[in-house]
């Protein structure tokens, strides 16, 4: 009689099956990867007065409907775009003593390319019928040019690549103090090589797209 009053043990044998069922459900409905991509900031719509920019400070890149690239009025293969962009941005054409003189530039100091990285504007113009994949490739190469220059300066000044700095900055485990220090450094690098990428609507009317 005493035995009957005991609570019978619950059979846990099917626990594994239940857990497997849940596991499979989550495997099917979820994805692991987080999205990655190229960040851009579009220019605001409200009309701003046009800014006069000297032609030598503009790096014209256009992509036609056959996915061919025209850089500064010369046909260029996609592979050479990055190095040409770096040469243009890092030129530092302003003479010594000029307000825009760039003391960290390592370029040719040619009179026909940009005065200083702060003044250099990359103008990207793409045909409506160009392929999006190639357009992204062009955007990627232009970003790569900026990143390479920024990294070079970051290595020189802080012994740390620009991309690593950003990675540490966006890591949620970084504490606040380190973050604010990093932020100042990142901003310093960004002002040295500001990303000024504009997408022209027409040849005359430049619309800037800044990062």
């Amino acid at each position: 009689m005493a035995r009957n009053n005991e609570i019978p043990e619950v059979n846990a044998g099917s626990m594994a099956d239940i857990a497997f069922l849940l596991l499979i459900f989550f495997l099917v409905t979820t994805t692991i990867e987080t999205d990655v991509g190229l960040d851009r900031k579009l220019p605001p719509k409200d009309p701003t007065p046009p800014i006069k920019v000297q032609e030598k400070n503009i790096f014209r890149v256009s992509l036609n409907k056959k996915n061919e690239l025209l850089v500064e009025n010369e046909i260029m293969s996609l592979e050479n775009l990055k190095s040409a962009t770096i040469d243009f941005l890092d030129n530092g054409g302003a003479p010594k003593g000029d307000g825009n003189y760039c003391d960290y530039c390592q370029g040719d100091r040619s009179l026909y390319a940009s005065d200083s990285p702060g003044r250099a504007i990359v103008s990207l113009n793409s045909d409506r019928e160009a392929t999006y994949g190639v357009y992204i490739l062009v955007q990627n190469e232009l970003t790569a040019a900026y990143n390479e220059l920024r990294s070079r300066e970051a290595e020189r000044l802080f012994n740390l690549g620009y991309e690593e700095m950003e990675e540490i900055y966006f890591d949620p485990q970084t504490d606040l103090k380190a973050k604010s220090e990093l932020k100042a450094k990142i901003n310093q690098i960004r002002t040295m090589y500001p990303m000024q990428l504009s997408e022209a609507e027409t040849n005359m009317n430049l619309i800037a797209e800044f990062q």
């Binding site: 594994a16 596991l23 979820t30 392929t131 994949g133 955007q139 790569a144």
Partner: protein, 159 residues
């Protein structure tokens, strides 16, 4: 006697008592590292590759717009012109601005100016469609965009 020897030679059964624990561990692992898929794709969406990418974190701050050719089962009805997908339906370019604004209104006020529009565009699509969308986004003053890509060698796009 015979019976006794038989039982002695048999291998002991493997205990499955800890199996639920192991499976639960796996379950929790997957629950924490994955995110829920919230859209069924109606368009082909083979994203381009890029290597200068940044992570798109915090999914609550993202509005997604898909562009691509209609998927094979819909292509017979809709043709092969690129279409825009908003949420779970196909839309025209005029619907982009109202959709984005209504999505923005659903977000808490504190993060509204941090919202990024993620453009998930198939790599075969023409740039024209994308610039139309960007024009619409500028019109409603949503200026942070992200050209969402796969991580990889960008020169694969040119082939």
């Amino acid at each position: 006697m015979k019976n006794y020897r038989n039982t002695k030679n048999r291998l002991p059964a493997v205990s499955t008592a800890s199996l639920p624990d192991i499976v639960f561990m796996l379950l929790f692992f997957f629950m924490t590292v994955t995110t829920v898929k919230d859209n069924t794709l109606l368009v082909d969406n083979r994203l381009p590759n890029a290597d200068q990418v940044k992570k798109l974190e915090k999914r609550d701050r993202i509005i997604e717009i898909f562009v691509g050719k209609p998927s094979p089962e819909l292509a017979s009805v809709l043709g092969s012109e690129p279409k825009i997908q908003l949420d779970n339906r196909l839309a025209t370019i005029n619907e982009v601005a109202p959709y984005v604004l209504s999505e923005l209104a659903k977000k808490p006020e504190a993060i509204r100016n941090l919202v990024t529009v993620s453009l998930k565009v198939d790599q075969e699509v023409n740039v024209g469609v994308v610039s139309d969308i960007k024009e619409e986004l500028r019109r409603v003053n949503l200026l942070k965009v992200n050209y969402t890509t796969y991580q990889g060698d960008a020169f694969l796009n040119a082939q």
